[in-house]
């Protein structure tokens, strides 16, 4: 089991956004450990200590369920995201557990070509070394704005 390094963090960040942006959502839960916490929230809610998320999953199974719901149940116009990441700042690194913050910008591209800035913010992550991989134990998606256009179907 190798130590967590900046290289490995950058690799997992890149693979994560590639997964979502290329519509490989079925592989998305694999980036997380089984007892993960994934939450999409806002900077305002974080400042106020408000715990509720726009999306809240405290198990990897809940992430799989969201993908299944998006594929089989929920109705939304065809759309895709393009995530652009800034550089991760490593806040803590204990070798087999680490924390970082990575800024993101997400464009939403609708089926008719309309492209808008859908969200910006920061990923606040805790990683856990997992065999030869590192996985997210906790991924807090803190959006800068509290305003969301139309709906949030695909995850950030």
């Amino acid at each position: 089991m190798g130590a967590i390094t900046l290289d490995r963090i950058m690799a997992v960040q890149a693979a994560y956004i590639r997964c979502i942006d290329s519509d490989a959502l079925e592989a998305w839960p694999d980036f997380f450990v089984e007892d993960c916490l994934y939450k999409v929230t806002t900077a305002e809610n974080e400042r106020n200590g408000f715990e509720a998320g726009i999306i809240y999953a405290d198990s990897r199974n809940m992430l799989s369920d969201r993908v299944l719901a998006l594929r089989k149940a929920n109705v939304y116009e065809k759309q895709s995201y393009r995530h652009i990441l800034g550089l991760p700042s490593i806040l803590k690194n204990g070798g087999d557990e680490a924390e970082s913050e990575t800024p993101f910008l997400v464009l939403r591209i609708m089926h008719d070509g309309q492209t808008d800035i859908f969200a910006s913010g920061v990923y606040v992550d805790t990683y856990r070394a997992h065999g030869t991989d590192i996985k997210f134990a906790r991924r807090l998606v803190v959006c800068d704005s509290s305003r969301f256009d139309t709906l949030m179907a695909l995850p950030l």
Binding site: N48, Y76, T150
Partner: protein
């Protein structure tokens, strides 16, 4: 080449009598009502500034003296504050001097307000208390001796408190809040807001449609299982659901609800609720649906609206208020505030956090509502002279024992037309 250019300067150009309500009373809704800028201006005057109670915020959001929130009634910016006499006040967020916003942020804590432009100062009741350089400088300038501060100030709202909800009105003719809500609706609000609440989150969903399309959508029980297929796709057996809908006499307020049959209650709801023949269509984590009968009456879903823009939501244990604000003819802000109660156990807190996935901008049973109004708005782009058909369940606007009806949508139009005179 000659090209004939016809006048197409808006959705109304081809309508024969664009401001005329079509035959059929409340069962036909003309599409110009979602498009016309004159209607939009009239709504501000006759609805939001008229004899209605506008939802402003939760009492819990202005809990301590000095706490304030900024919000809107229609397009009018408003400050809601708790003064040091412990009473809640609301007034237009507009300086009496040049009209600038008095408070620039969403809320906080203040002893008073000072307009940034020329430093005119207001107390938490909205009274003008000080004018900078009122007596001039070194004997020169200043306001005339005849100037009286108490003659100037932003418009003040009347306040009504009900079960922890703060409502405001500019009208002296609006009925008392209990009467405005109607007995049945009032009881159903009090049923949910039965003890001190704690806010757990806020967000705003921008809807690309006229506000009325969203308000109709919330009142429309007909679409629920058709548009939102989450529960049906996963064959979540809602057991022997009983339910119905009530509409208040004005038509503007409604509540729809469903009950779990008491006789089935002893069974493990989450285990029973997730029968599925197809493994592929089965949720892996059933904790999302572990409903706790917290109000002790078996009612696991209640959606309630108050004219002109308030929604109280109980979907299992996920509780929220939604405020519907117009932002132009073609855009609406939907403000979500999720909450729990002060005495929530850690288990209940966790249940609410999980169940919040059902509602909000990414909610399993609500995300579609953020888009469907836009589908209508885009669909009717050139159909200002055409009309919608709202005839499910007949023509009545009253209570029904079924949710296969559009009675509450017709109720909305009854109330709307009374206010608007259209």
């Amino acid at each position: 080449m000659n090209v004939n250019v016809s006048n197409s300067g808006g959705g109304l150009s081809n309508a024969a009598q664009p401001m005329e309500w079509p035959e059929g009373e409340l069962t036909r809704i003309p599409f110009w009502i979602y498009q016309n800028p004159e209607i939009y201006a009239l709504e501000q005057q006759r609805i939001y500034e008229g004899p209605v109670w506008n939802f402003l915020c939760l009492e819990a959001e202005v809990k301590k003296p000095g706490d304030y929130r900024t919000t809107f009634i229609g397009s009018m910016p408003v400050i809601v504050a708790r003064d040091f006499d412990d009473e809640i006040y609301a007034f237009e967020n507009r300086c009496a001097h040049r009209g600038a916003l008095i408070a620039l942020d969403g809320g906080g804590h203040a002893r008073d307000f000072t307009c940034v432009y020329h430093a005119w100062n207001y107390d938490l009741k909205g009274n003008l208390k000080a004018v900078a350089f009122e007596d001039g400088v070194a004997g020169k300038g200043g306001m005339p001796k005849t100037f009286c501060r108490s003659d100037h100030g932003p418009r003040k709202l009347r306040i009504a408190l009900f079960s922890g909800l703060v409502f405001g009105s500019l009208s002296d003719d609006v009925p008392p809040i209990e009467e405005y809500l109607g007995e049945e609706i009032a009881a159903k609000i009090a049923r949910v807001l039965c003890k001190p609440v704690v806010v757990t989150g806020r967000s705003t969903q921008t809807l690309n449609n006229n506000w009325k399309l969203y308000f109709e959508n919330v009142k429309d029980t007909y679409h629920a299982s058709l548009l939102h297929t989450f529960f049906t796709t996963f064959r979540i057996n809602r057991l022997s659901q009983k339910g119905g809908m009530v509409v208040d006499p004005s038509g503007g307020n409604h509540a729809s609800f469903s009950f779990i049959d008491k006789s089935s209650q002893e069974h493990d709801y989450s285990a029973l609720g997730l029968r599925s023949e197809n493994e592929d269509f089965k949720l892996k984590d059933t904790s999302l649906l572990a409903n706790i009968d917290e109000f002790g009456d078996g009612c696991h879903m209640q959606i309630l609206t108050v004219f002109p823009g308030f929604v109280l939501q109980q979907i299992q244990n996920t509780l929220a208020v939604r405020q519907i604000l117009p932002k132009g003819q073609y855009q609406t802000a939907l403000n979500w505030t999720t909450f729990g109660f002060e005495d929530d156990t850690p288990e209940m807190k966790r249940a609410r956090l999980r169940q919040n996935n059902l509602a909000g901008p990414a909610g399993y049973v609500s995300m579609e509502d953020g888009a469907v109004g836009g589908f209508v708005q885009r669909g009717v782009a050139s159909a200002g002279g055409e009309r919608a058909v709202v005839e499910m369940g007949g023509t009545s606007t009253r209570n029904e024992g079924t949710r296969a009806t559009e009675a509450s949508v017709r109720g909305f139009w009854k109330c709307y037309r009374t206010h608007m005179g259209v």
